[in-house]
């Protein structure tokens, strides 16, 4: 992508051209050269959208619910962007992205921008790509952005964590679903939706859920609520005393819906609005955004550093040759790692020394 092409796309997205937005997301997905400049230019125009992540096991009714959510938001006069993430085949790399079929309520309405994305087997990269796609939709001016994904693993969990509000979808009567919730999804949900609430066993599932959420409150408490910024956490902007903390904590809510006929969708939207208001009032919105950006910066750094190291591995004769040495017991993995990192560390050290020297001279 040339610089002019990037400029054109940015102008197009800001002017509300659908094709420019679509093309921007494609560039992001393909990691096209220049996509970074594109996302950088769009970043300053973001911050207007509420982002909702929807996850749940296959068949729980995510796409149908997202369709109804989008429709209801449209009825309220909001514009909507949807990113639906589907897994891709680890063998062929191909994928059938089927969520679009369920978007029956919004066909012909260009103010619902629906985009299917596939995981493309890039571990960790998916969250980066969806995050960047959200940036594009946000800069385009979408009021609500919904990210939908199967809640099947770390990848997906990372994806929904790019959202302000995380909705976890559960279907009644399957103990498996509640099992799945134990595996870490329970902690990330702000709102739990028991979909297909007209089915047998819905009441039991609601009770089970409430019980588990209660346990969560008891044990993991605030630690799970505030995804820590790690070493970059700024304690001064106040997690406050434990007492404050309790008031600030959002108690996850359970909502019942029947997505196919739209029952409960209005309630769900009320709860989503409540949660967003809560996030804003408590400053949690800010904190989550900070956490997100910190994670994103780290992620980019890791990826960039990995690329740099990959190139260094090639310079040292390629991975195969290095493994040969280790296998022949001529050397060991630690020595190899040192050998590859040492020159880089040296460069950095030299750069630091130069900086210190400049500092000293200025004084």
């Amino acid at each position: 992508m040339s610089e002019a092409a990037v400029d054109d796309l940015v102008t197009g997205v800001l002017d509300g051209e659908h094709r420019a937005l679509a093309r921007t997301i494609t560039n992001i997905e393909n990691r096209e050269p220049g996509y970074r400049d594109l996302v950088s230019a769009l970043h300053t125009h973001t911050g207007g959208a509420e982002v909702i992540g929807v996850t749940g096991s296959p068949g729980a009714g995510k796409s149908t619910l997202v369709d109804k959510l989008a429709k209801t938001y449209r009825d309220h006069g909001h514009t909507v962007g949807v990113i639906a993430v589907d897994p891709s085949s680890p063998y062929s790399g191909g994928a059938v992205l089927g969520d679009r079929i369920r978007m029956a309520s919004n066909v012909g309405d260009m103010d619902v921008f629906f985009r299917s994305m596939s995981a493309r087997g890039q571990l960790g990269g998916l969250a980066t790509a969806t995050g960047d796609a959200i940036t594009a939709l946000d800069a385009f001016g979408k009021d609500r952005i919904i990210v939908e994904t199967v809640g099947a693993g770390q990848n997906e969990v990372d994806v929904v964590r790019t959202a302000d509000t995380v909705v976890v979808l559960v279907q009644p009567g399957s103990g498996d679903d509640v099992q799945m919730l134990k595996a870490g999804i329970l902690e990330i949900g702000d709102v739990f939706v028991v979909n297909k609430a007209d089915m047998d066993g819905a009441a039991t599932t609601v009770t089970d859920l409430r019980e588990m959420l209660h346990l969560r409150e008891g044990s993991t408490a605030s630690a799970a609520g505030h995804h820590g910024l790690g070493s970059m956490e700024n304690d001064s902007n106040g997690t406050g005393s434990p007492d404050d903390d309790d008031d600030d904590d959002w108690e996850p809510r359970v909502v019942e819906t029947v997505a196919t006929d739209g029952t409960g969708v209005a309630d769900l939207i009320d709860v989503l609005d409540d949660h967003y208001a809560h996030l804003r009032e408590t400053g949690e919105l800010d904190r989550r955004e900070r956490t997100r950006y910190a994670e994103k910066i780290r992620q980019l750094l890791r990826a960039d550093a990995a690329d740099l190291l990959e190139a260094e591995i090639d310079r040292h004769g390629g991975m195969d040759a290095l493994v040969d040495e280790v296998q022949a017991r001529e050397t060991d993995p630690y020595t190899i790692a040192d050998r590859i990192v040492a020159p880089i560390a040296e460069c950095v050290e030299r750069e630091r020394e130069r900086e210190r020297k400049r500092e000293r001279e200025r004084k």
């Binding site: 393909n30 191909g94 012909g108």
Partner: protein, 137 residues
């Protein structure tokens, strides 16, 4: 990341347009495309031309494959192509048609902008190769 640049993933919309409820062919082609490593978006049945345009534009597909068995291709397909032109998406979208199209209509469709028409019995590999060789970007 570098791998993505070497071989760009081809995105494809497989669409059923109009009053035509037969989608076995569309399913088979969607599957074959997937196995060929394409990303396939399936439109579902009974779509209006505008809906297909909306999907093709938003999904930014390289290939739009329209399956049509109803005989209404001469009215519906030009409408889809006009819609793509409206959004400036036609130039870069490879439009192919599969299904029952009488010989005398083939030229009409090709003039309207369809790149190729694949009738019953076309070997799957032929369609896949055609797509690989002809995607417009």
């Amino acid at each position: 990341m570098s791998a993505g640049q070497e071989q760009r993933t081809i995105r494809c919309l497989v669409a059923k347009v109009g009053l035509d409820g037969h989608d076995r062919g569309a399913h088979v082609i969607a599957r074959a495309f997937r196995d060929a490593g394409f990303e396939v978006i399936y439109s579902g049945l009974h779509r209006a031309p505008e809906e297909i345009v909306q999907a093709a534009v938003q999904e930014d597909v390289d290939v739009l494959g329209i399956s049509i068995l109803s005989g209404a291709h001469n009215t519906l397909i030009p409408k889809v192509i006009e819609g793509l032109e409206e959004y400036g998406a036609f130039e870069e979208t490879l439009v192919i048609v599969g299904g029952i199209v009488p010989d005398e209509d083939r030229e009409v469709l090709k003039e309207a902008g369809v790149a190729e028409i694949f009738g019953p019995g076309t070997p799957m590999q032929e369609t896949i190769d055609f797509v690989r060789e002809n995607v417009n970007r």
